[in-house]
Amino acid sequence: MSIITVQIGQCGNQIGEKLFDTIISDSLEFKPNKNQTNLNYYKTLNENYVEDCKERFFSYCDNSYRQDKLYARSILVDMESKVVGKLLNQESNYIFRSSNSYTQKKGSGNNWSYGYCINAPKSSQKIEDIIRKETERCDRLSSFLICMSMAGGTGSGVGSYYTEFLRDNYPRTSLVNTCVWPFSTGEVILQNYNFLLTLNKLYENSDAIILLENDILHQICKRLSPHKEITFDDLNRIIGHKLASILQPCLGDGQQNNYLNQVITDLCSHNDYKLLSLNNVPIMSQQSIDYSTFKWNSLYKNARQLLYTGGYMDEGLKWGLDGVSNKTLALSLFARGLNDSDFEHTDLVNGFFDKTYMNKHFSTKAFGGLWPCPLKLWQQSRPFNNYEKSLSLLSNSQLPAFKIDMLIEKAWKMFSSKAYLHQYIRYKGFKEENLLNAFIFTEKLVKNYKNL
């Protein structure tokens, strides 16, 4: 079962790179602790893990003589050549296929309309070909994972176009969009328009939208290394870690695999609720990991608190009961690392996410109670990315809607003074109504979540 990553725009390609970096370093550079008692068990565990991981994310050289190099199952799309060019030339344990890349010379100019109406259709013939070839390399395709930003023209406009394109051409393959939410103060001035237009298109076509906010990532980085200047590389590395932590092999009850489409079925089966947040417990700098001990008990405790306070990392978590209570529709927990001898995961889950907790934070008016399976646990005994134990929380909750609400407020101000509209409607196929409809649609979306 494989995932094809589609990296679109500068941000999408940078994320994609970090995702594959994390996956490869997690898989290949893992060395079991020498002191580990049952080394053989560990070894087979690791072998299976690595095999599964390769099947998911990598393919081999098309001519079967060279089986040693891993090729990322990834499609690189950008409307200018600098970033993709850099990725294709890098030396690493894996390779991005240059035949899987599409670049042209002229970017989308931060303009959704230019990306969606002009740039994307122009490239669709070639990209269709690339996608088809890559799907033929998979025996079984679980999902497309589309990485993009919501701010720029290429990520948002071209990304929207190809999400729609994939939905039309691969109606039975699940589509998951990983979207980077731009800094709330200025990366691109038109980010709010672009955001709304993109969200509208994605909601129509995608199965799930994982939102990652640059503001929060920046704060996380700041906590990890308070005295260092933070680069985009740092932010993207966190994204890579987060994504890999849910995509790497894991098992549910009944030995079910955490194929992305399965995970999405649990979380996003209702058409009106597709926004996902992704949090990890713990997040630490490399130095702190070495000096930390991990206990499942406290990890679960933090996860439980993080979820309903709407926090983003276990350090500096709010412990009071005041503040926003975040309603969650569904949650998937990914637990990675060896079991403590005295606790089973299921017991811990039942203990920390007990009936009262669930009824308070998972029960919704709109569904007249809980979802049929509001909480799913995935387990993997092999530790992930140097963390002896870690938990990832992928949740469908109210939180993003509140933030989108604030964004609409800003965008609406701009829209009601008709600022920048001329930049959008100058391209054929875009009308003022498109933007207005995006507003109406997003207001509805926010309302749905708020009325939970």
Binding site: K105, G186, I189, E229, F232, Q423
Partner: protein
């Protein structure tokens, strides 16, 4: 990568262009140490082989970038030079930069435009329409993806304002998809050309109608900046010693040597370091400032960085309404060349300097006015957290329009400007520009009331007096547009008036 073509018109335009090409060569030479013709260089230069067998005097062989391993043979600037006199262009063709231009890149005449917009626009515009069009076409054909034209000219004289805007209009007709940046040098108040207010207003209508972005610059600001920088550098206060180290490292890595070694042909631009001392022209320092601005503006589309800004993104982000495309520019730190510069005390100061009155390339004070949008383009050793921190710091000091409270566009280019560890170009759309326009309007009306010198204009073929009325009307409209925005903003801020439309309500 995309390519850009500069169109230099008139004395001023050509002098700025000359400095731009000189500095651009140095910048690329300092980055591209192997003498390879790469994507970055190709944005402004062509690589040609003038000695290959198939080359005749008229035809040279183009060497494309290919897979980025071709050596540099002879660089040709992607430029079109136009003047109604021969002097400046001839000088360039004889000077150190002669190698980067060839005979197919310029059009000149001998008699000048006599500081008359109508002569430049109507007479020469007509006369050279075909030959300029042909030049542009040829140069455009050398580009596989033409992104923008940089049109450089003055606003006061006849050639720059008249012929320059005629060319601009031609570009708008023939290349509607290609962005048109105009670097327009405005006359200072004590300008010695009597008709400059006429020229300026007539040209402005053309700029408002046909340009995508105009970066107005005035001579007075450039003079002030040059004076400040030179004063500081002549009376070194500790920063001088550092400048020396820069120049000594420069000498070791003399860019000309690097660029020569493969082809053997001399790219003499770099000689200007030494020749600059001998034959420094009065405007060179001032034009260097403009050239530096242009280099910073295009850096992100030439070199890689973690947050690229393409040229078309600038108009997209900074122009909320189509006619209001006049952008203020300011540089920080200020420098004339790698030797003569104002060292800043650190990144924080660089940011705050960029918003000071003294760093603006047009005389105005944006800090006391209303910002519509602002772009920060950084080069060198800066990170996203530097930007975040400084935006937070600057925000309370600046007044942004209500509907664009977070109107920041940011860019990070990892290749620094030559001789600088880091630098910042700040572009902004600010209502304070209306003061400059008001000033021009007043001076125009002073003349126009008396109908002074009008006959010089009306005797030119096709020049109608109604054009004066239309042009001043256009300018007044533009000024009102800015005023209205200020008014609207005040209303929004105080929460009165019907300016704010309620958000859409969704009933359930």
């Amino acid at each position: 990568m995309t390519q850009n073509i500069t169109v230099q018109i008139g004395q001023c335009g050509n002098q700025i262009g000359c400095r731009f090409w000189d500095l651009a060569l140095r910048e690329h030479a300092s980055v591209n140490k192997k003498g390879i013709f790469d994507e970055a260089i190709s944005t402004f230069f062509r690589n040609v082989d003038i000695r290959s067998k198939s080359s005749s005097y008229f035809e040279t062989t183009e060497i494309p970038v290919g897979n980025g391993t071709e050596k540099i043979r002879n660089l040709r600037a992607r430029a079109v030079l136009v003047d109604t006199e021969e002097g400046v262009v001839n000088e360039i063709m004889k000077g150190p930069l002669k190698e980067v231009f060839d005979h197919r890149q310029y059009v000149t005449d001998v008699s000048g435009a006599g500081n008359n917009w109508a002569v430049g626009h109507m007479f020469y515009g007509q006369k050279y329409s075909d030959s300029i069009r042909e030049l542009l076409r040829k140069n455009a054909e050398f580009c596989d993806s033409l992104e923008s034209f940089f049109v450089m000219h003055s606003m006061g004289g006849g050639t720059g304002s008249g012929l320059g805007t005629a060319v601009l209009r031609m570009l708008a007709d023939e290349y509607p998809e290609v962005h048109r940046f105009v670097v327009a040098v405005y006359p200072s108040a004590d300008d010695d050309v009597i008709t400059s207010p006429y020229n300026c207003v007539l040209a402005m209508k053309q700029l408002t109608d046909y340009a995508d972005c105009v970066i107005p610059i005035d001579n007075q600001s450039l003079v002030n900046i040059v004076n400040r920088v030179e004063n500081v550098c002549n009376n070194p206060t500790g920063s001088g010693s550092r400048t020396n180290t820069f120049s000594s490292t420069l000498r070791k890595n003399d860019p000309s040597k690097i660029l020569i070694n493969d082809s053997g042909s001399v790219i003499s631009s770099a000689n200007s370091t030494s020749s600059a001392k001998k034959s420094e022209k009065p405007f060179d320092s001032m034009n260097n400032i403009v050239a530096n601005m242009l280099l910073n503006l295009t850096s992100s589309s030439r070199f890689e960085g973690s947050l690229n800004i393409d040229l078309n993104e600038i108009a997209m982000n900074l122009v909320p309404f189509p006619r209001m495309h006049y952008l203020l520019s300011s540089l920080s730190p200020l420098y004339i060349n790698e030797k003569v510069n104002l060292q800043v005390r650190g990144i924080e100061q660089m940011f705050s300097d960029a918003f000071r009155k003294e760093n603006q390339l047009l005389q105005c004070d944006p800090k006391s006015s209303l910002y519509l949008a602002c772009a920060l383009m950084l080069r060198g050793k800066c990170q996203i957290s530097d930007i975040r921190r400084n935006i937070e710091k600057l925000k309370p000091q600046l007044n942004f329009i209500q509907w664009n409270q977070e109107g920041w566009k940011t860019g990070l280019c990892s290749v620094p400007a030559f001789g600088q560890p880091y630098s910042l170009l700040c572009l902004s759309n600010n209502t304070c520009i209306k003061d400059t326009f008001l000033n021009i309007k007043d001076r125009f009306q002073l003349l126009f009331k008396r109908k002074a010198h009008l006959h010089h204009y009306t005797q030119v073929d096709n020049m109608d007096i109604s054009l004066f009325n239309e042009s001043i009307g256009s300018l007044v409209d533009l000024i009102n547009d800015y005023k209205n925005l200020e008014k609207q903003n005040l209303n929004l801020k105080n929460g009165n008036g019907n300016e704010q439309i309620e958000r859409i309500q969704i009933l359930s």
